[in-house]
Amino acid sequence: MKISFVINNKKVSLDVEPSMRLLDVIRNELHLTGTKEGCGEGECGACTVLINEEPVNSCLYPAINAANKNIMTIEGFRETNEYRVIADAFADRGGSQCGFCTPGMILVTYSLLKKNPHPSEEEIRFALSGNLCRCTGYQAIVDAVKVAAVKGIKL
């Protein structure tokens, strides 16, 4: 069936099959490969995108449910000022190693800071807990979120 949605501020319409995951549409149809597949079962968060500003695991999200929604992937988010602040904070603290978890981590950081501009250590760790990272031990990512919070994402 044909659906339309807004992705990265652009309206798209395309045919999807009922079995298609949003992740497949994003990666295979729209060729937005910044969104990754780490597990395909909702465990790792590498496939995180924002749907109406909320982080969602796109590997569990049926594409047809995206109809009329507003989707943001890393490709759209990287054009924003908020991205710059968060990415600089990640660079400062060493929050990205292999980088496979990083786009997801950055989107989750944004959604946390938007709701809670000055989160505590616990709140940060809780917000990140759906996104796995095997490289950093999370310390540098948690610190990066703190640095971004101090700078403020609404520049």
Binding site: C39, E41, R78, A91, G94, C98, G99, F126, R134
Partner: protein
């Protein structure tokens, strides 16, 4: 908010591409006409393969098997015993008996499910009883063991560990300019290169391996990609179409190589005055169906078996056992975490047995510069282990806490581990086997390009190696080009493994840059190939395991604090403090990243990550069943590096990648022991295991 300033750090070269999602990983490469390959796998752990039933395949679909092997049905991994495709016999569940290749992935999967091996079952072996590699060595005079007044013996076990690099195994292969081109998630481009040459019997120039972005590896992409490459190469010469093979997470966990489970037995021989006459150690590791690299893993486990302690008389032996399970292979630490876990616990238990203070006993036998290693080599360089211990104790308030928590039923504990890691390949492996050669050139505009075969799968080596060359030449950063390996351009500087990248390749890069600088002529094209020359003092006999095992050692101390819930038996890690001697840390931010990541994986191995095989099949096959640490499982990780420049490393650096994994599990286990007042011998220490310990008398 107090956070360390990384004064010594430079911007990581790959930051922006990784954060913005622009980095191209293997699965991100667009190649719409590529066929898919799906492994058809054995359902039996041990059986004769009498035949393979293949349904009639639609047009453009192929079944590739041992019959299609061009030259040699063997994967070029050290032992050369692992076939590309099972032929006449299968030795583990999941062993590939063939590939289905074709244009539609869903169709390939369907067809693969129809292919059936015809088996005659054989008796499988799952326990560690049939040794396929045995090694042993002694130091001093082990006949003195007989004079002991007391003998104390214990046994320790550790479990499987899955790497869980966030990007599963992925490979793309195509033909371009008469070359087979491979892009894959990999650690060692030249391992893949050789694997293809060997199975096809083709020439070096017929194969080209290019490294895209790699989403973590930790040892798990050292050897398995060679198997995938040999399989796809067999298919591509027949089909002549681009082919991709991407594993989903379940396939990756269920069928790819993991850390060796281990069983270590240790005895200490003690005289009447509580002096340790010597120790005897046997390390057994479960190698799975094929040896692969298990002999090297075993050898590292044995060399590290007395950890950071020196004894006059030592007997060390070990076996790698053949079982009908997925072959075990490389994982950060490469055998030494298993034997060091055992020895760190053992020496503490021994102190209790002898009724002496734990720390006092450990300090009495602590290794010093000038001591003889267990393989009768020499600890040549200054050792600052005592300083590392003092610093870590101070950071964690260890002395106070260890007293405080010794009160009954505090359900809290703190543990301290010391450990070392030999950097580089064992013995003369660097000079005799690897023979790294580094190519560096300069164009007419004085832009320098250098090439290594080192893969940056997150460790930051692309940044650090570049910096070594930039700083040595003393030219601006943007006058140096250093790209990911492409075997058409790069000579082999060896695999990205064994914590050798900075100590060996970094040293070689500095030397090459120095050489170029010494002959530098402005505005001229110049090129140098710099060969690795090992330090002359390294003498090693692999057969007898005697001599200097490594060019240098890195050292560390971990302190872990835990609390245990006496009702649910769940453990919380409350704090971690670490100190390291990695020589001179060239880039502190990168070292911190290794420190945090290594320790997090080690804690996962110690208490969260449980993988067991039942009748040859892994029970935990998804990421929900096999839990790695989340941000909620870990506390703030505090780390300090102490400076102790290494004579032969680039800018004084030693290796850091694996060291940071080695001490987490014993520190955790010692903390747990204090919290529950029971001795720990096995990991992972799951709630079930802790319940069992707590409900037992001793």
């Amino acid at each position: 908010m107090k956070m360390k300033k990384f004064d010594t750090s430079v911007k990581k070269v790959d930051n922006e591409e990784k954060m913005s999602g622009r980095a191209i990983f293997t699965g991100d490469i667009q190649m719409d006409d590529a066929y898919f390959a799906i492994q058809v796998r054995s359902e039996k752990a041990h059986a004769k393969l009498k035949g393979i039933y293949v349904p009639k395949l639609p047009k453009d679909y192929y079944f590739i098997s041992a019959k299609d092997i061009v030259k040699e049905n063997v994967v070029n991994i050290i032992a050369s015993d692992w076939p590309v495709f099972a032929d006449k016999k299968v030795n583990y569940i999941g062993e590939a008996i063939g590939l289905i290749v074709g244009p539609d992935k869903g169709m390939c999967m369907y067809l693969a499910s129809l292919v059936k091996g015809e088996y005659e079952e054989l008796e499988p072996v799952f326990e560690m009883k049939n040794s396929y590699v045995h090694k042993e060595f002694t130091k001093g005079d082990v006949s003195k063991f007989k004079s002991a007044k007391k003998v104390f013996s214990e046994e320790f076990t550790t479990g499987y560990q899955e790497q869980v690099y966030l990007e599963p195994q992925a490979m793309l292969m195509y033909i371009q300019n008469d070359q087979i081109v491979v892009k894959a998630s990999m650690q060692c481009p030249f391992y893949i290169h050789k694997a293809i040459m060997r199975t096809l019997g083709c020439k070096e120039k017929d194969v080209r391996v290019i490294q895209p972005a790699v989403g973590g590896a930790f040892g798990g992409k050292e050897h398995y990609p060679s198997l995938m490459a040999a399989q796809l190469a067999t298919a591509i010469v027949k089909i002549k179409k681009p082919i991709k093979m991407f594993f989903d997470r379940k396939e990756d966990i269920t069928y790819t190589t993991k850390r060796h489970p281990s069983k270590t037995e240790i005895s200490a021989y003690v005289d009447a005055k509580n002096n340790i006459i010597g120790v005897k150690i046997h390390v057994g590791i479960d190698g799975g169906a094929y040896v692969g690299c298990s002999m090297v893993v075993l050898s590292r486990a044995l060399i590290a078996a007395t950890n950071t302690y020196t004894f006059e008389n030592v007997s060390v032996s070990g076996d790698a056992y053949c079982t009908n399970k997925v072959p075990s292979a490389a994982f950060r630490g490469f055998g030494s975490p298993q034997s060091i876990f055992a020895f760190e616990l053992f020496i503490n238990h021994l102190a209790d047995y002898l009724k002496v203070d734990r720390m006092e006993l450990r300090m009495k036998y602590l290794v010093k510069q000038g001591d003889i290693t267990s393989t009768s080599g020499l600890f040549r360089d200054p050792i600052i282990l005592k300083e590392l211990v003092d610093k870590a104790m101070e950071m964690s308030d260890y002395k106070h806490k260890v007293k405080l928590y010794s009160k009954e039923k505090s359900y809290r504990g703190i543990g301290l581990s010391m450990f070392l890691h030999g950097c580089g390949f064992t013995g003369s492996g660097e000079s005799d086997l690897i023979k790294a050669q580094l190519r560096i050139k300069k164009d007419k505009n004085d832009i320098v390009t250098f090439y290594t075969s080192q893969v940056d799968f997150g460790q930051g080596n692309r940044t650090t190696l570049k910096r070594i060359v930039v700083d040595t030449l003393g030219i601006p950063e943007d006058h140096v080009i250093y790209d990911a390996p492409d075997t058409n351009e790069t000579l082999s500087t060896g695999p990205t493994a064994a914590s050798r990248t900075i100590i060996i390749v970094g040293g070689l890069a500095a030397k090459a840059a120095q050489h170029l600088k010494s002959i530098w002529k402005d505005g001229e094209e110049q090129e140098i190939v710099e060969p690795y020359v090992g330090p002359a003092y390294i003498k090693w006999d692999e057969a007898t395991m005697q001599g200097d095992a490594y060019p240098g050692y890195a050292w560390g101390v971990n302190i872990v604090e835990v609390s245990v819930d006496p009702v649910t038996y769940e453990v919380n890690v409350e704090g971690c403090w670490s100190t390291y001697d990695v020589g001179h840390a060239i880039d502190e931010r990168i070292i911190m990243g290794q420190a945090d990541g290594g320790l997090a994986q080690a804690l996962g191995w110690a208490y969260l990550e449980k993988e067991v095989a039942e009748n040859g099949m892994f029970k935990q096959r998804t990421m929900s069943d096999y839990a790695i640490p989340t941000s909620m499982d870990l506390p703030v990780l505090e780390t300090e590096v102490l400076d102790n420049p290494f004579k032969y490393g680039a800018f004084g650096a030693k290796g850091a990648g694996e060291l940071t994994f080695v001490g987490g599990a014993p520190a955790f286990a010692l903390a747990l022991e204090q919290a529950i007042g029971k001795k720990v011998h096995d990991i992972p220490a799951t709630p079930e295991y802790i319940m069992e310990l707590m409900n037992h008398e001793n």
